[in-house]
């Protein structure tokens, strides 16, 4: 409860500081000989408000991280805690229970042993809440007063506020980058643990995938951790079958929409295509599993295949291909539309037909954007899970036959993490190694896409 209240408090104080500083700045302005200040009164107001709110926010973030620890510590130091079981699960359960009752989240304790802890908890909570509020007020007050005292008629509040705003924006852009680094770090850590148990060579080049979560975690059978069938399945479904569908269809629809369609039709078709991108992948999964996969099996039967699988890489790949058509087509559409009209005119004036112009001038000029769109679509496709789970099974299979059941990296990540194995079992940890490989591959693809775009971007100008 306390962080929310502290935040409200900070905002209230910030507002008060804002109003006070604004009033003061207006007073400066009235007193100044020409009725002008280097900075508008609002900048003075924002300067003070930011000096109140930002330190408080920093403190609240810090406080909500350490306060629970401080509370537990003081509860454990109380005499009632001496009766607790020394270690482990039970001890934690009781503490949690007492905390729930003390904060009002639960009506009464279930374990009688926890009852004695409720009172110390309540005391500690109110104690630290009080400290939190007092410190918040103190920080807000100090920040506000310091900033307020700096206000002068010639104070450069505008520059200062701009600088603070820039720092906030920088922080916002760092969040995404830091998150990526954090994700990578956690993946790397678990991956290293996994490679401590299973050799990376067996993992990257082995051709048999069948981790046994029930086997003893000691000395796992490395030969069961060969991920090549998964890499192949991912590549085959996401990068080959899906792309065979998505690249031509996406490109052709982009060409039609930019070069041939009349504006009224374009206004309808373009949003309709983009709706495809908004359909949840689970829904595509139904479609693949219930409609496409049986149809493919029937066709295979009628063509004389013996005992075709009801789940197939082809079904998953086809539907996935349809799913990513909008990615390819909208990137291609944008980059074809971005080719200067002068190129088109130049080609037409040479006596080229529309289709010659498209093939020989527009598509080559738009190629960087088209390639980038395809790369993004591939990384989207190889990260896709639901369609494969529903239409292509979870059985690892190293085969070039699109009618056979296959599985992909992402599907196995889910299977391993939701399996029975404990968290330090190599079968579970293999999910992180798979995730790490996938991350590196998509990172590589995006990197290639970006450098392609960058290298050829100035082709026309």
């Amino acid at each position: 409860m306390s962080p929310a209240i502290l935040l409200l408090l900070a905002l209230g104080l910030g507002l008060a500081g804002w109003l006070a500083a604004r009033a003061r700045a207006w007073a400066f302005r009235r007193a100044s000989p020409d009725g002008r200040l280097p900075s508008l009164p609002n900048y003075h107001a924002w300067y003070v408000a930011l000096w109140i709110v930002l330190p408080v926010l920093a403190f609240v973030a810090l406080w909500s991280a350490i306060a629970p620890g401080l509370v537990s510590q003081s509860v454990l130091a109380s005499p009632a805690a001496a009766d607790l079981p020394a270690f482990g699960f039970q001890r934690q359960t009781m503490l949690n229970e007492a905390r729930a009752v003390a904060t009002g989240a639960a009506p009464a304790v279930f374990n009688p042993e926890a009852a004695g802890l409720v009172e110390p908890y309540r005391e500690a909570l109110s104690h630290y809440n009080l400290i939190g509020i007092v410190v918040t007020l103190l920080i807000a007050f100090l920040g506000g007063v310091w900033a307020f005292l700096r206000l002068r008629p010639d104070f450069a509040a505008r520059t200062k506020v701009e600088r603070i705003v820039m720092a906030i924006l920088l922080g916002a852009s760092l969040v995404a980058i830091l998150t990526t680094i954090g994700i990578l770090a956690s993946l790397v850590f678990e991956t290293i643990r996994f490679f401590g148990m299973v050799s990376p060579v067996d993992f990257l080049f082995g051709t048999h995938w069948g981790p046994d979560p029930m086997a003893s975690p000691e000395n796992p059978d490395s030969s069961r951790y060969g991920a090549v069938p998964l890499f192949w399945g991912t590549l085959f479904i996401g990068a080959i079958i899906a792309m065979i569908v998505a690249i031509p269809l996406g490109l052709m629809s982009a060409i039609y929409l930019t070069q041939y369609a009349n504006p009224a039709l374009r206004r309808w078709i373009k949003p309709a295509l983009e709706i495809l991108a908004g359909v949840p992948t689970v829904v595509y999964g139904y479609f693949a599993a219930l409609t496409i996969a049986p149809a493919i099996r029937d066709v295979a039967l009628s063509l004389g295949a013996t005992n075709p699988s009801s789940e197939s890489a082809l079904a998953a790949g086809l539907v996935m291909g349809v799913m990513i058509i909008p990615f390819v087509s909208s990137m291609a559409d944008d980059s074809i539309a971005a080719v200067p009209q002068a190129m088109r005119d130049g080609s037409l004036a040479m006596g080229a037909t529309t289709s010659e112009t498209i093939r020989r001038v527009l598509v080559p000029a738009a190629l960087p954007g088209i390639v980038a769109g395809i790369m993004l679509a591939v990384s989207r496709a190889i990260g896709e899970t639901m369609i494969v789970v529903m239409a292509a099974s979870t059985a690892a299979n190293l085969s070039g036959n699109p009618l056979e059941a296959m599985t992909t990296v992402t599907v196995q990540i889910v299977a391993m993490l939701t399996g029975e194995g404990s968290f330090d079992h190599p079968a579970t940890l293999s999910a992180f190694a798979l995730g790490f490989v996938l991350f590196m591959v998509t990172l590589g693809l995006n990197f290639i896409a970006l450098s392609v775009v960058k290298r050829y971007r100035e082709a026309y100008e």
């Binding site: 002068a342 080229a352 001038v361 080559p364 000029a365 026309y460």
Partner: protein, 262 residues
């Protein structure tokens, strides 16, 4: 109104427009323009911005077809045949009537491929040797050969603005057209590059019928032998360039060339 065709000597008209009007939607951009364009001379279209000179130029190889709302009335003949008749192949027309644009627009391809583009789509060369010969001839005629002969595989967009424009002229020449339309070809170039283009126009004169739209009256005076003055979508006066600039018949022409407006 009368258009003064100032006792021009009888020449065989390469192209001839008869009462041509152009509409953008409901707006009339060109009003009943009639003009004969000879092969022997460079014809300049001058006039203030928005007077319709570029629009009219673009009707001569049907580039206005690419603008959905544009509509052309009247008749434009190329060697006596109406280019707006049904059954006219626009592709063939544009191979015979080439165009150079205001801003140099080389394709993002190599210098060689820029020139080879037209001959390839029109099937003018059998085999590599013939294509090489066309490329060399076109670049020589455009006065660019000496500057680029050692780097034909470099991108056309890497050339300077003036070189790019000469590349575009070479590209137009490569399909061996009969008429070359130039839409303010020097407006994006510096004076030295402009001088080179003007020299080039003088050299090409006689081999091709050249029509140049220009904003600069000095340029029209330097490069052309025939000048048409356009104003508000109408052709006000057409005659020998020397007459238009020294002894115009129309008050509006007089006002324009003496800088009273425009």
């Amino acid at each position: 109104m009368t258009v003064v065709h100032d006792n021009l000597e009888k020449t065989q008209a390469k192209m001839s427009a008869k009462s041509v009007s152009v509409f953008y939607g409901d707006k009339k951009a060109i009003d009943e323009v009639s003009i004969d364009i000879p092969t022997e001379y460079v014809t300049a279209f001058i006039g203030p911005s928005g007077c319709g000179k570029s629009t009219f130029l673009r009707t001569l190889n049907r580039m206005n077809d690419t603008i959905p709302s544009a509509r052309v009335e009247g008749e434009i003949d190329l060697d006596g045949q109406d280019i707006y008749r049904s059954g006219m192949d626009v592709v063939q027309l544009r191979a015979r009537v080439g165009m150079v644009f205001q801003k140099p627009n080389p394709f993002p391809k190599s210098i060689y491929d820029n020139i080879a583009y037209g001959p390839k789509i029109h099937g003018l060369a059998e085999g590599k040797d013939e294509l090489d010969a066309i490329v060399e001839k076109s670049l020589k005629r455009a006065g660019l050969w000496e500057e680029v002969k050692d780097r034909l595989q470099d991108s056309g967009t890497a050339l300077s603005g003036g070189q790019q424009q000469r590349l575009c002229i070479a590209r137009a020449i490569a399909v061996d057209p009969e008429v070359i339309l130039m839409d303010e070809p020097c407006s994006a170039l510096d004076p030295i590059a402009t001088a080179k283009i003007e020299e080039l126009i003088a050299e090409l004169n006689g081999r091709y019928a050249i029509v140049i739209v220009t904003h600069s009256m000095q340029q029209a005076a330097r490069v052309s032998q025939r000048t048409a003055f356009f104003h508000l979508g109408k052709m006000v006066e057409y005659g020998r360039t020397s007459d238009i600039f020294t002894n115009p018949h129309e008050q509006r022409t007089q006002d324009y060339i003496t800088g009273r407006y425009g």
